[in-house]
Each structure stands twice: as C-alpha cells, then as structure tokens.
C-alpha cells in the first residue's frame, strides 16, 4: 500500500466517522420504533346470531351479512339480506328493498332510492346517479338535491356533503340541502372528478381531477366559500374511482399514485411517499400516539402499514386475503375474512 492509497483510506474513515457524529447529533431521530401487534379475539359470524352485550356497538356489514358487535367480541345482532345493508350506529337500511330499521323500534320505514350512511346521516341516491335524498333519523325525507351531471366521486362530513361529477365539477350541499359551493378544478385536457375526500371537520376538501394531466387539489374553507389551498400535478392516468383521504388530524391528504401512496400536506409544503403498492386504501390515525394506520389493498391481498406522518414507516404486516370488512378505531383493527371477525391491537414499545 503506497502513501496515496493510505491517505485515501484515512480520509474515508474520517468522513465516515464525521457522518455518524452528524447523524446522531444533528439528525437525532430514532430509528424504527418497535410496533407490536396483539391478536385479541376471533369469532365466527353467521346470520341469526344475537346475544345481548355491554359496551359500544360497532356497526358491521360484509356482503349480505350485517349487524353489530362489541369491543369484546360479543355479537349484539347479526342478520343477512340479499344485497346486504348499510349500517350506522343506531340504524341500518337494507339495500335491496330500501327499508330503514331503527334499533329498538319494531317498524321499518320505506325509503326512496338506494340508501347509504355518511358521517352517521342517512341518504339515498337517485336511480339515475344525479341526485341525493337526505333523511332524518326516523327516515322522513328532509330534502332532495339534484346535481347537474352524474356523480363519479362523493364524500361527506357532518354538515357538508360533496358530489364530484363526471364533467369535472365539485358541488357541496349543506345540512339544509342548500348549495354550499360549486367549483371546477379544471387545468386538464378533459375534466372529471375521480377521487374526493372531506376532512372530518369539513374544513378541507381534496379532489383528484382531470385527464392529461391529473391533479390533486386541496380546497380550504374561507368564510362561506372554498378556495384552492394547494395543488400538484400527478403522473397518474386513472380512469376510475381514485382513493384520496385525509388523516384525522387534517394536516395531510393521502392519495393513490402509481408508485405508492402519496402524502401531501394541505398547505402544499410536504410531498412525500409511502412505498406501498395498492389499488385502494383506507387510513386512520390514533391521535393519542400520533401513529397512522393504513390498510392497502392490491387485488385480494391486504397489508397494514403503521407510520408516523408524513411518511415514516414503523412497520407493516400482511392481513388475511379477501378482507370483506375493515374498521380502525385508535390503534385497534377489526377485520372480517373467511367468515370470521377478528380484533388486533397495536402498541409501541
């Protein structure tokens, strides 16, 4: 070894040492935190079950099967109907015959159109895909709202329901059935709304819009109207429903992109990526720990990814194939597959 190569080795060792010092003192961020998944229970579900149970009732719907269960795994009520049912905390509506059943009340109430719940409120869609009926808790029609075109994406929060149309407009409806706002993101060769989310407070709206090029647009409430808070062009070319969702803290919107799940801060300052292959996803956040849980689906496979926003992955586990039901509550996951309902809790050590 000559002097020159000895000098090079020394410089390399010094540089490596300085890098490590810089890492620990200047970039003092812990490495991966230990995340533990603890299975709590598994119960088989079948129609006709019904045992009284204490605790919170959790709505359940998968295929034709629907009902309520408790946090401890006891089944409060389980039934089935052709086409299944839309289920909320205090009522459910069978889909094939559009009838509302309120818990604790024997009689059913007929509904017009195809029922669904959003943020606990009962709605139905008009058969031609251009309108919305809103009902009170007893199934009485409150109002009907007609959109200018067929809906291709919808989302709601308490007091605000937003429809995105196939001709590229967003139109918001307030709790009284009045138009809250109307907005066209534009900026693309062809306008269409492909994905839509409303933040839990109704302050933010996220939309995936347009073809050639597609855009992610974040609207923020300003007084009585919404205006663009941030946006970015996307490399995607989706031609169908495209998932987009807000984290519960409303700081970030997550959206599907060809190379993973994008994480975009509502102010446009953060543009990050969760390296997760997915066709679709749902996301929930445990605000107590600041950990977000993302369940990504690709084909019939699913995985759960725990991360600290914006995109620091803490861990990931594969979930059973063919998930039919999924619900996150804090750091608890409930899922249904192969006719069994299961609960898994997560915590950081």
């Amino acid at each position: 070894m000559d002097d020159q190569s000895r000098r090079g080795t020394t410089i390399t060792i010094l540089a490596t040492g300085l890098s490590l010092v810089a890492y620990f003192f200047a970039l003092a961020e812990p490495l991966s935190t230990e995340l533990t998944a603890m299975p709590r229970w598994v119960v088989p579900l079948a129609s006709g079950q019904g045992t009284a149970s204490a605790g919170t009732r959790i709505p359940f719907s998968a295929g034709d099967l629907f009902g309520y269960f408790a946090e401890d795994g006891s089944v409060f009520f389980m039934n089935s109907a052709p086409g299944g049912a839309a289920v909320a905390d205090g009522a459910y509506a069978t889909l094939a015959d559009a009838r509302l059943y309120r818990l604790g009340k024997p009689e059913a109430v007929g509904l017009a159109g195809l029922p669904f719940f959003d943020s606990g409120a009962l709605y139905s869609g008009l058969a031609d895909g251009t309108g919305l009926n809103a009902y009170d808790a007893d199934g009485a029609l409150k109002w009907t709202y007609r959109f200018p075109c067929l809906l291709s994406a919808t989302a709601g929060s308490p007091g605000l329901w937003v429809g995105g149309t196939v001709d590229g407009w967003l139109e918001g409806v307030d709790a009284d059935g009045k138009r809250a706002f109307s907005f066209s993101p534009g900026g693309s060769r062809i306008s269409v709304i492909l994905g839509l989310a409303v933040s839990p407070s109704g302050r933010w709206i996220a939309a995936i819009s347009g073809l050639d090029r597609q855009r992610l647009v974040i609207l923020g409430r300003g007084g009585t109207d919404f205006r663009v808070a941030s946006h970015r062009y996307l490399d995607s070319d989706y031609r169908g429903p495209t998932p987009v969702s807000f984290l519960d803290d409303e700081g970030y919107a997550l959206y599907l992109r060809p190379d993973g799940i994008g994480v975009w801060s509502v102010d446009g300052r953060t543009d990050d990526l969760l390296p997760v292959k997915a066709d679709g996803f749902t996301v929930s956040m445990d605000e107590g720990t600041g950990v977000a849980y993302l369940v990504a689906r690709k084909g019939d496979e699913s995985e759960l990814v725990a991360f600290k926003p914006p995109a620091r992955v803490l861990g990931r586990i594969a979930l059973p194939r063919n998930l039919e039901y999924l619900r996150m509550s804090g750091s608890t996951l409930y899922f249904f597959a192969d006719k069994r309902l299961a609960r898994v809790d997560f915590w950081q050590e």
Binding site: L114, L126, T154
Partner: protein, 282 residues
C-alpha cells in the same frame, strides 16, 4: 332567447356533423327522454337484447367503473358506469352495464363494444344512456343527436283533465267547469320508435286558439339543487311530471263562457296529432 337559439344551433350542428349511433341493435330505446322513471329521465333507457353495448361515437374513456357503490358510499345505478368524451364537446354516459376492461388504448371507435348489459326481464330496469353537453352543462335528448329511425306513427293523446285542490275533472266531449284557475293534466305518449310509452317531443296547449303553453323535450339541467327541463320555457321538473307519467300545465285562467282547449303533440320525426275539448265554464 339568444341562449336558446345558440343551444339549438349548437345541437343541430353537432347532430349534422356527428350523427351518433344507437348503442344497441334493435329498438333504439325502451323509455325516452322525459319518461317518468323515478323522476324525469334525462336520457334513454334501453334493452341490450344481445348483451352488447356499443359506443355511440368515436371517443375517449374518461371514467369506467364496475361496482355497486362509489368509495363514498353513493350507489352506482345498475352496478356499472362508463363515460366517453367526444370531440363535439358531448359526453356519453352509459349506466347499468359492465364496462370492458380498459386496455392501454383509451380511445374507442363508434360502434365498438364498450361493455355488456343483461337483457332486461319484464318489469326490470334497463341500461341507461345519457348524452351530455359539457359546454352548456345539460343533458340533451338523445334523439336530437342520434341517427334518425324511421317513424311514421304520430304520438297518441290518451286523455286530459283539469285539476285544482285535488279535484280532477276529466275532459270529455263537453265538460262543465267553474271559472277560475286550473291545472291541466295531459296524458300523451309516443310509442314509436321506442315501442314503449315515451313522451312526445313537443307538446302544446291552446285555449281558444291562443297558445298557453309549449314544451320541447330538448334538454334537462340542474341549478342550485333543482332540476329543470325545456330550454325555451324552463320548467321545474318536480311540478311538471307526475308519477303516473302525466304532465301538468298551468295554472290556466278560465273565464265564464264557452272555451275550447286544444292539445297538440308531435314526435321528433314531425308526426302530429291534435285533440280538442269544449268547455262550458260557469
């Protein structure tokens, strides 16, 4: 008025330049624009007897989905939706079909299969076709832009009645009414070329030879959550179309004496029919 002229010119020009093809073989549709199908039908309802649904014109797939619900829970009519964008600024929307899987090429040719729909059993709902003008943001009656079908049969006027405060007086050859303000209910259908009871394209009401109402089934649109139809005389659909399919005009003021009420109907091919009733207003 100028807006109306422009719309008619635009649609006329589009129909000349781009005569769209019907999406199925056989009868072009079962229920026409304006039929009562849980409300005012903004397109046509058709039966894909051979299962194939074809693109009505060259276009690009904008949105394609097979599923009973959108991610937000909103139901998809018939469990499938396909939207094509056409060069003319028109959009065609097909609901209730299973779209073909999207290939790399998102462009489709007129007449090429874009999806499948099950043949409709008696009493069931068929697939839907909407033609939508993206510039004006309104649904256009498809018969105005599609290939014309041979039609030499005029629409039928099955009856008419005056109604006020829930009291209905059917019109016969000579009808007695009290003077005042009445609504006129008209039961008129056009069974050709649809084969079903679709509304006529044009409907006029005259009292003593003076035109009191005229509607042209050309377009339908929504504004501030309410739905309207007929470019020339915008009418809110909710008060116009009855669940039994009859349509309502008025209120019409009837003065004491003899009056003649005339209803004329016409289809898009120009076939006309007229019925008159003599009223004795007390």
């Amino acid at each position: 008025m100028r807006r109306t002229v422009w719309l008619v010119l635009a649609v006329g020009a589009a129909s000349l330049a781009f005569a769209f093809q019907w999406p199925t073989e056989g009868p072009p549709y079962a229920y026409g624009f304006g039929s009562f199908r849980d409300g005012f039908l903004k397109g046509v309802e058709f039966d894909a007897a051979d299962g194939q649904v074809r693109a009505i014109a060259d276009g690009e797939v904008v949105f394609s989905y097979t599923g009973s619900r959108l991610p937000g829970g909103y139901p998809v009519s018939g469990g499938g939706l396909e939207v094509l964008s056409h060069h003319s600024g028109m959009m065609s929307v097909y609901a209730g079909l299973s779209p073909r899987p999207l290939g790399a090429d998102r462009m489709v040719k007129a007449g090429s299969p874009i999806g499948s729909a099950s043949p409709v059993e008696k009493g069931a709902r068929g697939a839907l076709l909407f033609v939508y003008d993206t510039q004006e943001r309104r649904f256009v009656n498809p018969v105005m832009v599609m290939e014309k079908k041979a039609d030499d049969k005029p629409p039928a006027i099955r009856g008419a009645a005056f109604v006020v405060d829930g009291r209905e007086v059917p019109l016969v050859s000579s009808t007695e009414l009290r003077q005042g303000s009445w609504f006129l209910l008209v039961d008129a259908v056009d069974a050709s070329p649809s084969g079903q009871a679709s509304p006529p394209f044009e409907l006029r009401v005259l009292v003593d030879g003076s035109e009191r109402a005229r509607v042209l089934y050309d377009a339908s649109w929504s504004k501030d959550g309410a739905s309207y139809a007929f470019t020339e005389n915008p009418t809110e659909e909710r008060g116009y179309l009855m669940p039994d399919g009859r349509v309502r005009f008025g209120p019409l003021q009837l003065a004491r004496g003899k009056s003649v009420v005339t209803v004329t109907v016409a289809d898009y091919a120009g076939n006309r029919r007229e019925s008159s009733w003599v009223l004795s207003v007390q």
